[in-house]
């Protein structure tokens, strides 16, 4: 089923989409992590509630409110969220205290907020949304599955508006584990390292990216998800073959491809093979130098594209890898997180 994106909200290491200057300037940093640049939440969250919220909940609520405002709605009919790690900071707070205090004299706040569905539950609570509400936690496919669930839901409930999001937060503990696991780079990076480097892992990131999706074609310009294809494969050569057959299957003229290449030596060959092969003559853009590497980064890429379409702005020039895109109609988004891949066929309508 085709899904139309009529609103988007992003809170990320590259800023937030409520800000007019979002993604305008090329990023400049020399660090191992891109933590969210959080907005002033006063327009979105009552101060009393804000004080009790952990970062994951704050960025999730902030991005979802921005998203609903951008779509011109106050409450969605249903909610579908993807998060690989859930509310890590609260998990670590409760875990740390539980161990330090030998399981005694503990308080419930952090535990209550540590469940993976806290963000989707809090959004429903604040908006008074009694509808369908799911949270997917399938590693690098968490957000993709939240989108597939949106297709399933809207097939049964046509013309409704679904709030769909991808969110993951970074903590000191998770960064350490992700560095050991080779997913995030132990060394500091500058943007060029992410775009062109050959490192062990990619700069770490976190973000909340939300969307209003519906099955009904809107009157105004929108980004349409024509198709999303997911697979997991630990063999690079097989992964390339699968992506190539996806590209070939969708023979339509691709105007631009947006790639999750991340300056990571393990996954670089995949993108190099595609960029020198089937995608050779197509304008290629990147995004991970903006948001860093995290499990639901596809949502950031989709948000960057939706933001550009909805605000009628060109894609940021600092994302361009080979040549500038002309008129943008058909878009191919290819991303990976570990051995989890997704290919998205998107269309500006």
């Amino acid at each position: 089923m085709e899904l139309y994106i009529t609103g988007t909200g992003i809170v990320s290491g590259a800023g937030n989409s409520g800000d007019d200057s979002f993604l305008k300037e090329a990023p400049a940093y020399d660090t191992d992590k891109l933590l969210c640049v959080e907005p002033n939440y006063t327009a979105y969250i009552p101060p009393m509630q804000l004080r009790r919220m952990s970062k994951a909940v704050r960025i999730g609520i902030g991005a979802s409110k921005m998203c609903m405002a951008s779509a011109g709605i106050e409450k969605p009919d249903a909610i579908s969220v993807g998060t690989a790690m859930g509310c890590l900071a609260d998990t670590e707070v409760f875990l740390g205290k539980m161990i330090a205090q030998d399981e005694q004299m503990l308080t419930p706040t952090a535990f209550i907020q540590s469940t993976h569905n806290t963000v989707s539950g809090q959004i429903a609570l604040l908006a008074g949304c009694y509808g369908h509400n799911l949270t997917f936690v399938q590693r690098g496919h968490s957000f993709e599955h939240a989108v597939m669930n949106t297709q399933l839901y809207l097939a049964d409930n046509p013309y409704e508006q679904m709030l769909v999001g991808g969110i993951d937060e970074l903590t000191e503990g998770s960064l350490e584990a992700l560095k050991i696991g080779g997913i995030n780079n132990k060394q500091n990076s500058i943007p060029a390292d992410v775009l062109n480097g050959n490192n062990v892992g990619c700069i770490a990131g976190e973000a909340a990216s939300f969307f209003i999706m519906t099955d009904k074609k809107p009157a105004n310009a929108a980004l349409c998800i024509k198709d999303v294809y997911c697979f997991a494969d630990k063999d690079n050569a097989t992964a390339v073959k699968k992506i190539e057959s996806y590209i070939t299957k969708h023979q339509q003229k691709i105007d631009v491809t947006v790639l999750g290449q991340s300056g990571d030596a393990a996954s670089n060959p995949i993108y190099q093979s595609l960029c020198s092969g089937l995608l050779k003559d197509i304008p290629q853009y990147a995004f991970k130098h903006l948001c860093g590497e995290y499990a639901t980064a596809s949502a950031f890429a989709l948000g960057m594209l939706a933001n550009s379409v909805l605000k009628n702005k060109p894609l940021p020039a600092h994302c361009m890898l080979n040549k500038e895109v002309g008129e943008m109609k058909n878009i191919l988004l290819i991303n990976h997180y570990m051995h989890y891949y997704s290919c998205w066929w998107l269309q500006v309508v």
Binding site: L95, I99, D102, F111, I112, S120, R139, G173, A177, I180
Partner: protein, 398 residues
């Protein structure tokens, strides 16, 4: 028109048994699995009873044929999946198969043992204890072991998680996106969850008494429960037969409080009512409700009121099986789906163990003795959780 999702087989492991037959035997004989923690090492072992699976990680790994260093949740999952899947594993060639799992703790049982050392000096910790912390990593381990790759997902909506995985599997078979699906969930006990629920002061220091006026709270349990679903086409290819289908499902949100249910069970009512609509059934068609029935003051009151609002004075037979298995959190929907299937298959309704006193704010009482020889056509199964997540499933005889 949607294709029916036929329930072909079940796989389960809980404190009352390591497979479907053992669990059924315990249900028929009123044998509860609640007692003192043996494998879970916790400060609260003498004070807080739990419904623990009576196997060590090594014993479970041997049964499942997997690595004993896996998180306990993955071991539980592998045992239950093996039971449901193995008879058909070599018959599904050419069919699209999905694995829909659910968990809330993921690899926490290992993480919590090394977290302190990891924070002090990560280099001293065996990374095997950390690398499967994510909920999705549990599912990946099990999916890879059984070579299922067409669609693999994990849902985490607290205590309703695995009801939602069954819902999504039924939808994808219904739409023809998959031919075969294993759907349910798994959760092991962990100090993290035991202490978390303890801070909420909703744990019973005695074996729990769901839907009793003097109920004191819930007992945490652990386990895994899965149903094997097939389309008609897949059934024919596999030479399989079914006793029932997933006829209805719905997911709603209570939008009331992060951990508590609204007093009148708004979300519960929506989930049950919408599941009946999807099944194209009237309340009077339901023969048995497998209650969420945790044993907390809040849940049982809200759930009971929602049931009375929907069924009025004609509440069907109802019971909570959590007095047997404890509350298995993310596995509960899967475990209770298996019990729902067994209810239809064997024409039985389970007693709500330890029930003594009528709840003051409800008119109906749960079934308290084993009912046998019944024609159970439609079972409603409730799963409600933190975050306001409410899900109901309907299983119908075919």
């Amino acid at each position: 028109m949607k294709q029916a999702a036929y329930i072909i087989n079940t796989g389960i492991i809980t404190a009352i048994g390591n497979d479907t037959a053992a669990c059924l035997d315990a249900l028929l004989n009123g044998r509860s699995g609640i007692g003192k923690a043996n494998h879970l090492k916790t400060h609260w072992a003498d004070e807080l009873p739990v419904a623990e699976v009576k196997l060590s990680n090594e014993e479970m790994a041997a049964i499942a044929g997997v690595d004993a260093r896996w998180p306990r949740t993955a071991l539980l999952s592998a045992i239950a999946v093996k039971e449901a899947w193995q008879p058909f594993a070599d018959k599904v060639k050419g069919l699209k198969t999905g694995f829909f799992s659910a968990t809330t703790v993921g690899g926490m049982d290992l993480t919590e043992n090394v977290y302190k050392a990891f924070k002090e000096d990560s280099g001293t910790v065996d990374f095997n204890n950390i690398k499967n912390h994510e909920c999705g990593a549990i599912t990946e381990l099990v999916a890879n072991h059984f070579c299922i790759s067409d669609f693999v997902t994990t849902i985490s909506t607290a205590c309703s998680s695995s009801a939602n995985s069954i819902m999504m599997a039924a939808q994808m078979i219904g739409n023809g996106m998959l031919d075969v699906a294993i759907a349910g969930g798994a959760d092991s006990l962990s100090r993290f969850t035991l202490n978390g629920f303890n801070t909420l002061m909703i744990l019973d220091k005695q074996p729990c008494q769901p839907f009793d006026n003097n109920r004191r709270g819930l007992n945490l349990g652990e386990g895994a429960g899965y149903v094997l679903l097939m389309s008609e086409k897949a059934m024919q290819q596999c030479g399989a037969t079914a006793s029932c289908i997933v006829s209805g499902y719905a997911n709603a949100n209570d939008a009331y409080h992060q951990t508590a249910s609204s007093p009148d069970g708004t979300g519960n009512k929506l989930a049950m009512g919408n599941a009946l609509k999807v099944a194209n059934l009237q309340p009077a068609d339901i023969d048995y409700i497998n209650l969420h029935g945790t044993g907390t003051a809040n849940n049982d009151s809200s759930e009971g009121k929602a049931i009375e609002a929907l069924f009025a004075d004609k509440v069907p037979m109802a019971s909570s099986t959590k007095a047997y298995t404890g509350h298995t959190l993310g596995a509960a929907g899967g475990v209770e789906a298996v019990f729902g299937v067994l209810s239809i298959r064997h024409g039985i309704v389970y007693p709500n163990l330890r029930w003594q006193t009528q709840m003051g704010d409800l008119n109906f009482k749960p079934v308290t003795t084993l009912q046998q020889g019944l024609a159970i056509r439609h079972v409603l199964s409730n799963s409600f959780g933190f975050g306001g997540n409410c899900s109901s499933l309907v299983f119908s005889k075919c």
